[in-house]
Amino acid sequence: MSADASLASEGAPSPGLLRQAQHGVDELDRREAYRQSREAAARARAFAEADAEALDGLVSVRPRQTVPRPQPVWDDAEVLVHEPVGERYRRLVVASSTIAHTALAGQFLMITVPPHAGDTILLPRPMAIHRRRPATADRPGTVEMIYGVVGRGTRALAAVPVGGTLQITGPLGRGFEFDSGTRSALLIGRGVGICGVMGAAEDARTTGIRTTMVLSGRSAEQLLGRADCAELGVRIIEATDDDGSSDLLTLQNSLRARFDGATPERTAPDVIMVCGAGVLARLAAELGAHWGVPVQASLEAHMACGLGYCHGCAGPVRTDPSVEGPLVCADGPVFDARIPVV
């Protein structure tokens, strides 16, 4: 999930606001709104280009899975929790015992957005499974998602009330996998991408893998996942734009320093798992190359089916023009990331 791209577009007034501004509001406000919208557009373009460049030649389909993939189902899931998280996100917990039971770390759902006051959303929206909580004797299994309200679909989704039902399809895709023998892991998430890797933290907890997670985001207040990490016994490294610690070079240096092998606590992790931006996937791949450990990166793509048949979600893998590249929904969203040998 490109948290950056959404950050970029969220920071600016909507075209609607801009339009309003145009009529009746004072001229300087209008100019400022225009300036901001153009800056947001430039930022969105720059992020998209940086992302594409960072991913160029970086990822490949992982070799066969060790764990069989669960059969996706669709379910009418009751909405148990639907609440704001900070200013920009929403937490959504739905009941689906089947999916909570079968979902693997790093898998995702397609959420069908119900019609909202005359507005019909056609395509379901892909969302990472942030947390899985299997059924117990007295409550159904649940899955938790956290999402940013960025466009028409997520806006309409945000209007679904607690107690309503959401149609969800999943679990989908190939998630994060720990090779047997893995003792330690470094997880890196940015923005809502933190939800993409949280499932791996859950698995790490179950299998006793020592885990550190980088929580990256704009500001310390907005960081997702702190409570989850505390619950899961994951060590946290915060990296924010506000204090510059999320800057790619700064972050790379601080991670290198922290895992420099000087003490057993500071040995390099056995695996790196990353989600949230192409540039972070590349950073992770560089760290992986430096430490000689594998890197798994979760990517995003526009999707329609989530199941592998619509061919809408081409992954950023260059192939022979006559051969279709991997599909993010079926061959990913998690790919191997390796710095290309030039």
Partner: protein, 361 residues
């Protein structure tokens, strides 16, 4: 009856994910999900004289016969998926046997890789896709995809494409005895003619159909584009050249721009608009095509509900295809098929024609 294999597009992944029931043998039994309930709600069929399953009629009501003939092929129900909006992966998610047929994504003569990202998006006017029809060629299709379609236990209609009129017949020939019918997707730029759609040129349609007619005895459906000078001329060209049905229509070429950056959203700049907002445009085309030809017209464009299907039937369609609606509601086509049967039952009639006669009287 229901395949519960988790399929993906990558042979690797497929090989690695065998029957999911083995991994979670108790999942479905322990936690019945909405999908399981939907499967269980299948109508009971009985077999009539002509061996077609027909809804077991309530006492005193006529048996409902929704079957439709496309050339030599009889479909149990006039509802099928639209090309590109269905895959064998859905076999585990919906009761595919309740559909009249499946329709494959378009198969081209040579392998194609597909278009750059983004390949699809949603804008207020609808879904727009420029997937670019990745294809493995007929051999690739037969090796990897066809067995999975064949396993679904409903007729497979194989969609066939080409970059020039001469490219269709060889693909159909290469597909040989596979598939129950062919749908010729002529909404493809004609590289022999400046990239204008083959399907917008009655002469090119005639050429394509005549050539395909020579290599197969199976039913031929010609799927026409929207942007044509005269849909009647195009449909007539298909009929005259030997087609058994026309499908009206494909998605409408459109160019979505990003609201913020004003750049094309799609890697291919242009994509096909689909979904409910194209229905009033396609309704007119179906109406005109139905008046122009004697062969059945299969309507395709924005069908979401049984009422959408009945709208199309009321202007002359004999069958409908469900495309975009399946993404949000994988069971949409099955729901339309069930809904048609139910409407007939509720009205106490045995066919859609009778239902419509009742409605307009």
């Amino acid at each position: 009856m229901v395949a519960v294999r988790a399929d993906t597009a990558s042979p690797d992944a497929r090989a690695a994910s065998p029957d999911a029931r083995a991994a979670f043998p108790d999942a479905r039994a322990a936690f019945p999900d909405a999908r399981a309930v939907f499967f269980a709600a299948a109508p009971a069929y009985r077999t009539t004289a002509n061996a077609l399953p027909v809804e077991a009629a309530m006492p005193g009501t006529p048996a409902v016969d929704l079957s439709v003939r496309i050339g030599s092929l009889t479909l149990r129900t006039p509802v099928m998926p639209a090309s590109g909006c269905f895959g064998p992966e859905l076999g585990a998610l919906i009761p595919v046997t309740e559909l009249g047929a499946t329709v494959t994504k378009t198969v081209f003569g040579s392998a194609r890789g597909g278009n750059p990202v983004h390949r699809l998006t949603e804008i207020p006017a609808g879904m727009v896709n420029s997937v670019g029809i990745p294809s493995h060629g007929p051999a690739g299709y037969l090796a990897s995809l066809h067995p999975r379609y064949a396993a679904l236990d409903v007729p497979t209609i194989i969609s066939v494409g080409g970059h020039r009129p001469s490219e269709y017949a060889p693909v159909v020939a290469a597909l040989g005895e596979n598939g129950a019918a062919f749908e010729l997707n002529v909404s493809c730029p004609n590289l022999d003619r400046d990239g204008t759609d083959i399907g917008s040129d009655p002469a090119a349609i005639r050429e394509v159909v005549a050539a395909v007619r020579l290599v197969t005895v199976k039913p031929i459906i010609v799927k026409l584009p929207v942007l044509v000078a005269s849909i009647a001329d195009c449909a007539r060209a298909a009929e005259e050249a030997g087609a058994d049905a026309v499908c009206v229509a494909n998605s409408i070429p459109a160019m979505p721009l990003d609201a913020l950056t004003r750049r094309p959203i799609l890697g291919n700049v242009i994509g096909g608009l689909s979904g409910p907002s194209i229905k009033p445009i396609v309704l007119r085309l179906v109406w005109l095509a139905s008046r122009a030809v004697q062969i059945p017209v299969i309507a395709c464009g924005g069908v979401q509900t049984v009422d959408d299907a009945l709208d199309y039937f009321s202007v002359g369609a004999s069958a409908v295809q469900v495309g975009t609606a399946s993404f949000a509601r994988p069971f949409a086509a099955v729901e339309v098929a069930r809904g048609l049967r139910q409407r007939c039952q509720d009205a106490g009639v045995g066919s859609i024609r009778e239902l419509l006669e009742l409605e307009v009287s």
